[in-house]
């Protein structure tokens, strides 16, 4: 199975643990990633300013993949959303496609309909499958209690993703965590937004949005919160100390990317999964699994 890995802007710099874990897990499961160096920003940050320019940037990325006849695998949910949206709009609207292609022609690119875009979690769930993963599990993570944060752009709007999930009651990530043997702990308001999109606009509001989730998750004394998007992770991990200071609370809640969890279950060395780069040290969790060096 082969995909072009679309990293976006944030992961290669601020989510290297996510990238390392993804690459190692993929290799273990027989997924091949091509690194297309021509993938730029996905276009998401420009959407608020000018939708057409955002679409153009996204279309160029899709053209880069189409030139190589590649399917795209994304790690960031915002990239997934903007690339999927662009693909849909350009596939269904010939006039818009012609307009965009006129601009792309000036740089020698052409958008062609039919590029497949999938978040890595969906690749695991739909293309690899739970049974295949189950047969590869070497370490049962039964000692772990984990809560899941879906984030928004993996699920919503449902129509964008052809209703592959029930956005009000999703289960793919629960199933992917459960296959490792870990216990999934549900909590109040699981589907709430992390607030990441507001971090640069109204920082205090973003922190206020992230706080209730940290309260609800830690109330259940779980070992970690599991995420699949770098912005969600930035809110709950990178900003956890800030939230603690602002509200005079103490969480010390490790935040893991899903491929890090799966990687442990697949028996991959924790260094190759980037655990040393997690900011809230997951030592207690690794001790529980008797994996501390």
């Amino acid at each position: 199975m082969k995909y072009a890995l679309f990293l976006g802007c944030t992961i290669p710099i601020r989510g290297q643990n996510y990238e390392m874990a993804t690459r190692t897990v993929a290799k273990t499961l027989g997924i091949h990633f091509d690194n297309l160096e021509d993938f730029s920003c996905c276009g998401f940050p420009i959407r608020s300013i000018n939708s057409e320019i955002s679409l153009l940037i996204a279309a160029r990325n899709l053209a880069v993949a189409a030139d190589r006849d590649e399917k795209i695998c994304t790690l960031c949910s915002a990239c997934t959303s903007v690339l999927t949206g662009a693909n849909k709009e350009l596939t269904s609207n010939r006039k818009l496609r012609e307009k965009i292609n006129k601009e792309l022609a000036k740089i020698g690119r052409t958008y062609k309909p039919g590029v497949e875009i999938k978040h890595f979690a969906r690749v695991l769930y739909e293309d690899i499958g739970l049974n295949f993963i189950k047969n590869k599990i070497k370490n049962d993570l039964g000692k772990l209690r984990l809560s899941i944060h879906y984030g928004c752009h993996y699920l919503r709007p449902s129509s964008l993703y052809d209703y592959f999930e029930d956005a009000e009651n999703p289960s793919t990530i629960e199933e992917l965590v459960s296959v490792t043997g870990a216990e999934v702990i549900d909590y109040k308001n699981k589907l709430d937004c992390c607030g990441g999109a507001l971090l640069g606009i109204e920082g205090d509001m973003a922190l206020s949005m992230a706080k209730p989730k940290l309260d609800n998750v830690t109330a259940n004394k779980v070992d970690a919160l599991v995420t699949i998007c770098p912005f969600c992770s930035i809110m709950y991990e990178d900003n956890q100390k800030k939230i603690e200071a602002k509200y005079g609370v103490n969480y010390n809640l490790p935040v893991l990317y899903y491929p890090q969890v799966l990687g442990l279950a697949l028996g991959i060395n924790q260094e190759k999964l980037g655990f040393h780069m997690n900011k809230i040290k997951p030592d207690a969790l690794l001790e529980k699994l008797e994996l501390v060096k």
Partner: protein, 161 residues
């Protein structure tokens, strides 16, 4: 107080003509969006139903000059729950796009647009970053995307921001 002289009755059509704005007139003001909104939960100045009413009434200046149009977190919860399929997240994008044309632009987005029009990506890549990546066994990341720079230059992005 709303002064009818301040109202621009064409505003809703202006929003409808913008990318993603087409469904604005379908709203029947049920308030599901406001009840579902995680931003509204934190700050009452952001009220989706009220924003739609303001658009439909034609309160063009007040909406475009407001700080609240920049506060949508794009969580899309309202999009999924709206019984009329108004697609509010897209409406908010349309509003911001119009505001930018009128010269109102949040400095955060202006900053991001400037970085992207210079480098073709956010999070500027230095030699240090690629050395660190190499140590971690990760492939290098391109620093500048000339194609994206050219696309954005052709679209006159600098004049827009």
């Amino acid at each position: 107080m709303i002064d009818s002289k301040e109202l621009d009755h064409n505003f809703k059509y202006e929003v409808a003509a913008e990318t993603g704005g087409i469904n604005i007139t379908k709203c029947f003001a049920c308030g599901t969006c406001t009840a579902s909104c995680p931003v509204r939960e934190i700050d009452e100045t952001y009220n989706p139903r009220k924003i739609i009413r303001m658009i439909l009434l034609g309160m063009r200046d007040r909406v475009l000059k407001s700080d609240f149009i920049w506060l949508c977190s794009t969580c899309c919860t309202c999009d999924d729950r709206c019984p009329q399929n108004v697609e509010l997240t897209k409406i908010m994008m349309a509003l911001k796009n119009i505001a930018v044309k009128e010269g109102y632009i949040h400095p955060f987005f202006r900053g991001q647009a400037r970085i992207i029009s210079t480098f073709g990506r956010l999070n500027i890549i230095e030699d240090f970053d690629n050395k660190k990546r190499e140590k971690l066994g990760l492939p290098p990341i391109k620093k500048i995307f000339e194609e994206v720079k050219k696309l954005l230059k052709n679209m006159r992005i600098k004049e827009k921001i």
